[in-house]
Amino acid sequence: MSEQPVSRGDDRISRRDFLKLLAAAGTVLTFTPFVDWGKFLPNPAGSTNEKSKVELPDGSQANVKTFKVNHAEAIIYPKSEDPALNEEAFRTWQFIRLPSELGGEKNDASAFRVYSMVCLHLWCLWKYWPGEGRKRGECPCHGSLYDPLTGLAFAGPASLQSPPSNVLPRLDLEVDKDGNVWILPPNWSVNGNGVVGYGRFIT
């Protein structure tokens, strides 16, 4: 039987080939469950399906009625139980109320912006400067400048990087009837809310 020619040109398979196919199918099925185990690797902390508060450094929730126009605060997102993780740059975001000429007087979500504070150039932390003539995000390390309206780097080394690495990741906001500001569940992709430290495509 071992010398027996297997393929005779007809459309049937030999016993031994069938046995091999069964064994192959069994092997594939055995290791199929482990494919899902790949979820062990990414950090699940960043993905959530719930909206969360914009929590200001003083512990209160940001509100359209009280938050000043042309003003910015550093916020932590996603907020962790672990104080060490809350220190981390990739969780720090700049919560900005736009200056009045960019629509900051409005009492809805369009008056606000949240951008990742991690500069797209070399991951220093930039911040918003509200002074007259500035009103922009500035990175202390190499002077990249960011447009608060869109998150686009318009000057400095970050502006020279090709898309999507010239636009800051942002979070989407929602304002409830009491005026409290909430962060909507993010979609961490370059076509969605962007990837921290990497960038976002302007859609």
Binding site: S7, A25, G26
Partner: protein, 515 residues
Amino acid sequence: MDVSLHKENSLVRLFKWIYSGLDRTIFMGMKFTFPTRFVSPLGFLGMLTFILFIILGITGALLMLWYEPILDRAWDSVENINDTIPYGFHMRNIHYHASNAMVMMAILHMYYQYFSGRYKIRNEILWVTGILIGVLTILEAFTGYDIIFSERAELAISIAASLTNSIPIIGPDMRDAFFGAGFHDFILRFYAFHVFFLPIVLIGLMALHFPRFLVFDVPMVMAISGAVMITGGVFPVEMGLKFDPNVPPGITVPEWYLTGLYAFLRSAYDKFVTGVAWPGLFIFTLLIIPFIDRYKKFSWKDRPIITAIGITSIAQIIVTTYWGFYIDPDRTKSLLERLVIDPIFLYTVMIALVPLSFGFTYLMIKLAKNAEANAKKQPKKQVSSINLPQNWIYYVFIALIGFQIYLNIAAYYAILNGMKNISLFYIGIIMLVFAGMFHIYRHGRSVANNPPPPYIQTRAKLGMKQKAITDKTLSDSKELSSNNGNNVKSKGLLSKVFKVRKQNKNSFEKMWNKE
């Protein structure tokens, strides 16, 4: 069907090229045997231990992605792995149970080699390296459960540190060198030992320890992996309580491979003698045993003193292991009273076990020799074997594949519903089913390689009625094929395919012969 497993495509050629290139590497110096039928796993327990080591390496490496060896974060990070990280529960349980299984396998492996006298005939180096690997394996397991930094881990660390301290002259310096100054150092250092120092030394010793012939039995390997997962599903490992120096710890006992030592420590006798000298003496005896054993024969029956020593050690290990676990349940007594074992009682039992074990060994050898002599007188019994007919190989195989599909879906749903240990249990069964499938595949291949003569095969498959017809009309190929067509109707589609095909072939050959 276009599928042909016999045509060499470029992928197959690539694999063959790589395989031929391996000829120049060290791996080809080792001879791997893939058994073509079931062989007793006792002969390759070492390989199974190594497989568990590999499983531990993989799961351990993955756990390193989440574990934090920092004083105030260690326990929390383990809790995070256990409760939050997807499949972290699985990884941790597999890692824990595989570590226990590895210690167990290593012990079984050692005793099998011991009683079968395999450490002789220039295998002394294998034996000595094996003992060292065994000791390091226990240290590896010990450092592993310490870095969780639960109450039990703290107890174990404090015992280990004080035992090291109790060594005369060099003890205090050794303690400073290995343990560092405080809990922060203990955690970080035990972690470094656990993930780097000890494994590196283990791998080095394993390279020395590998015999030239290795048996890689796929079903057994998968069965072991499956058993580890099932154990993890049924007995998920607990977190224990986070160690807090302000809270009095509850009564905890160490892992089972250390309770034997723990029993001696609980006798509250001198720490060095109980905790260092006795285990040291035990390890030293094991190391020199091949040089003491002067018997010319291998079998345990022909080496009474050596066998008796082995039995004594097993008896003492079992008794002390149980004793280490046992804590007087009478809560009216003080904790100290419940914990402390009377040293005179303990050592009397230990000494009493020696003549008992020697007597037991004498009895066993007598009985075994008698049985041997009786067996020689009687005619040899035929070895029974399970002969699965070829069609049933396929039926069983397809049933197992169907079962696997069910289990896959069940495991996935269990994970979606948060039933982590049920999912781990199912995946363990998947592995066991695969072990069974591989065994059947192996059986099927051997059946295909050694088919019974075709005439007998035909007769066996046809019923008695058909048999007569077959005999009568053996030359008439048309009738034969129609008969078979009727016969297979009642059976499954698959067997039909094969039978008709076979029959066509037979008819074809007969027609050919006629002409």
